[in-house]
């Protein structure tokens, strides 16, 4: 009996240990002598200092695209450019400087003369600033810079920093949606909250769709003539703090609408009404994803004379969003956005983003769709990019506007549907 028990016990013990040890093979094989050669062979980065005071990087990119329909007002090619980005950063003892410019040879552009404001010409100066901390809790960034805040995904309520819609719709990389601003950015950090104040001495409009390069539906089909505000500045402020995992912010903007929102009949030019925006946002984890909500009230000044007619009223803008990883390396995000006006129709907008990564994240597929259920129009962005190696990336994508009306926010651009491809070598 005892022997039987013993055997049983033994069998049980050996069974557990053996099975596991068979699986956990080579358990005695100490820190394996796995060859390290692979690592050494392939151009090791060695001990190169990642914090050397001067840093140079950038890329060389060729990007071409075609329109998917005929437009008598535009060339068949939507984009055909060679772009060399150079970023130079240098850290001094108490401050940093950065230069970031794109040198562009663009055969589709109508204007080749250099204009840093609109990004025309052989150089798009993206950043040129000095960055320092005069006190422990103050950061100052002075010069040309790119700024973003707010919680929306390609939808902006309280981010009134300049956007480059031409680049965005034309099939350039998403980073070019943000146009640079010449600004003084002061960031103050307190115990209770933080404050950013951005002063832009000279008003900086969006790089908006004006009929040049990208068509929109208007009566004449001529490029839009617009009158930029003279000698006026912009001020953007954000006060923010976190409550646990919830990030909250209050915003204020004072300046002008970033794209034309009215017409001066005397001057026969589009105008940019004076604008103030008051807003707030929250972003926090919710269930298995991230929830965000943002709101803003846009208040326009009254026109200075009767010949100026605004195309927009004061309005509320509100956004709700949710993002979650719905399957392995597949992220979905949905947003609902609304513009509410007293004397005009509201505009409702939904967005859906699906992003899938595959092959060790080398292949990335992305779908972004804007759809307005009440204006019955939309905009679909498709993109696939593949990293052939650490330096070389290939990309294809398309921009498609749809809707029956010619007056919808997106459908007015439907002559600009395009397909593009790019090859990019980073250094």
């Amino acid at each position: 009996m005892i022997k039987q028990l013993n055997t049983l016990l033994l069998v049980a013990l050996t069974f557990t240990t053996n099975t596991v040890f068979a699986e956990a093979s080579n358990s005695e094989d100490n820190l394996s002598s796995q060859s390290n050669d692979e690592w050494e062979d392939s151009d090791d980065w060695g001990d190169e200092d990642s914090f050397s005071s001067t840093q140079i990087s950038g890329f060389l990119e060729a990007r071409s695209g075609i329109r998917l329909q005929n437009d008598n007002h535009q060339k068949k090619a939507s984009i055909n450019e060679l772009r060399l980005k150079t970023e130079l950063a240098h850290s001094f003892e108490s401050f940093d400087i950065k230069f970031n410019a794109d040198f562009v040879a663009d055969s589709v552009a109508d204007k080749q003369a250099l204009d840093l404001q609109t990004g025309h010409g052989f150089m798009d100066l993206r950043e040129l600033y000095i960055n320092f901390s005069p006190k422990d809790n103050i950061d100052l960034k002075i010069g040309r810079q790119i700024m973003t805040w707010g919680t929306g995904d390609l939808v902006f309520i309280n981010d009134l920093f300049s956007k480059d819609w031409r680049s965005f719709f034309n099939g350039r990389d998403t980073q070019y949606l943000k146009a640079p601003s010449d600004a003084i950015k002061t960031s103050l950090y307190f115990n209770v909250f933080n404050l950013d104040a951005v002063y832009i001495p000279k008003y900086n409009s969006d790089r908006f769709i004006n009929g040049e390069r990208l068509s929109y539906q208007n009566s004449t089909n001529l490029p839009m003539q617009a009158k930029l505000p003279d000698n006026d500045s912009e001020l953007s402020m954000r006060a923010y703090r976190s409550f646990g995992a919830a990030e909250t912010a209050l915003y204020y903007y004072q300046g002008h609408t970033k794209s034309p929102a009215g017409f001066n009949q005397k001057a026969n030019k589009a105008v940019f009404p004076k604008l103030k925006v008051y807003g707030a946002s929250i972003r926090k984890p919710l269930a298995k994803g991230i929830f965000n909500a943002e709101i803003g009230y846009r208040q326009l000044s009254t026109p200075q004379d009767a010949s100026i007619i605004y195309s927009k009223d004061n309005e509320w803008r509100a956004l709700l969003g949710f993002e979650q990883e719905i399957a392995k390396e597949l992220t979905a995000s949905v947003q609902y956005y609304v513009e509410v006006r007293k004397n005009q129709d509201n505009r409702h907008l939904t967005t859906l983003r699906l992003q899938k990564q595959m092959m060790q994240q080398k292949l990335q597929l992305s779908v972004f769709n804007f759809y307005s259920p009440n204006q019955k129009d939309g905009y679909l962005r498709l993109n696939a990019s593949y990293k052939y190696n650490d330096d070389l990336k290939l990309e294809i994508g398309s921009n498609a506007f749809y809707g029956n009306s010619n007056q919808g926010f997106f459908s007015q651009f439907k002559d600009n549907n395009n397909l593009y491809g790019a090859i990019k070598l980073s250094f």
Binding site: F21, W45, Q175, N194, R283
Partner: protein
């Protein structure tokens, strides 16, 4: 003879049971968890990764990582800050994780070209970390309470622990077996198995060094036993107890690199 063998075996079994009882599995995994993820209260390292896919093509990553333990006394919540150096297209991208044991981690990604601070939904910790074969969980630690642990063997130099997930539906493995060095308590090898007992994934320490008095795995590999790819990871420029202020782990640092703590 047979009786003799049985008795010897029984004796050795009893002895091994006795020595097993000298340390409990909880002590082993707590010490291993501490050695792998919580040595000193803060630290910094430069990490190089070499990702080899199933076709043998290689990709590399280089980043500097900062870590701070929030509760200095127990192995609980931590904050991480990562600055990417290479490859060139992710240079200066920053990433921050507030790791929580009791709820999902908070993660933020900063894209410098857009000046965009993006919050990342961290629903699944078993997804690839920066395209490598390491998962988030491998880099920042898997909660000890996520699995049931069983001490399988008390060897001369190593403890062998089998861990079975409490929520098997949330992970891709059925169980994993970890070999823990008795001296340093560092996990030197972890093998993940599917429900049929087939090895699907394996971590192995390739080099251990003593730095600032702490033993640390400075070179390791994670192998995908199904597809055949692997990622090697090397730590350099390691510093422990560098008294990082908690303010380093905020949005300010995402936007403006806190170089003095990274260098």
């Amino acid at each position: 003879m047979k009786l003799f063998t049985t008795s010897t075996l029984l004796a050795s079994c009893l002895m091994s049971t006795m020595s097993v009882s000298a340390i409990t599995v909880d002590e082993v995994i707590n010490k291993a968890n501490h050695a792998a993820y919580y040595q000193a209260n803060s630290g910094r390292a430069q990490v190089d990764m070499m990702i080899t896919d199933k076709a043998g093509r290689k990709n590399k990553r280089r980043f500097t990582i900062l870590r701070k333990d929030i509760d200095q006394k127990s192995d609980a919540d931590q904050k991480f800050y990562i600055l990417f150096h290479k490859p060139a297209d992710v240079k200066n991208t920053t990433f921050m994780v507030w790791k929580h044991l009791s709820k999902a981690d908070d993660r933020w990604l900063y894209l410098p070209a857009l000046d965009l601070v993006k919050r990342i939904a961290a629903s699944d910790n078993r997804t690839s970390f920066v395209g490598s074969h390491f998962y988030y969980e491998d880099v920042s630690g898997r909660g000890l309470k996520a699995d049931k642990h069983q001490l399988l063997k008390d060897e001369k130099q190593r403890y062998v622990v089998k861990s079975t997930p409490k929520k098997p539906e949330s992970v891709e493995f059925a169980y994993y077996v970890t070999q823990i060095d008795k001296n340093s308590f560092l996990p030197l090898k972890t093998q993940y198995f599917d429900s049929k007992g087939k090895e699907i994934r394996a971590f192995e320490a390739l080099k251990v060094e003593k730095i600032d008095g702490y033993n640390m795995v400075t070179h390791s590999v994670m192998k995908d036993k199904i597809s055949g790819g692997n990622t090697q990871m090397k730590y350099r420029k390691i510093q422990f107890n560098n008294s990082l202020p908690e303010q380093v782990f905020t949005e300010r640092s995402l936007r403006k690199t806190p170089t003095k703590y990274l260098k």
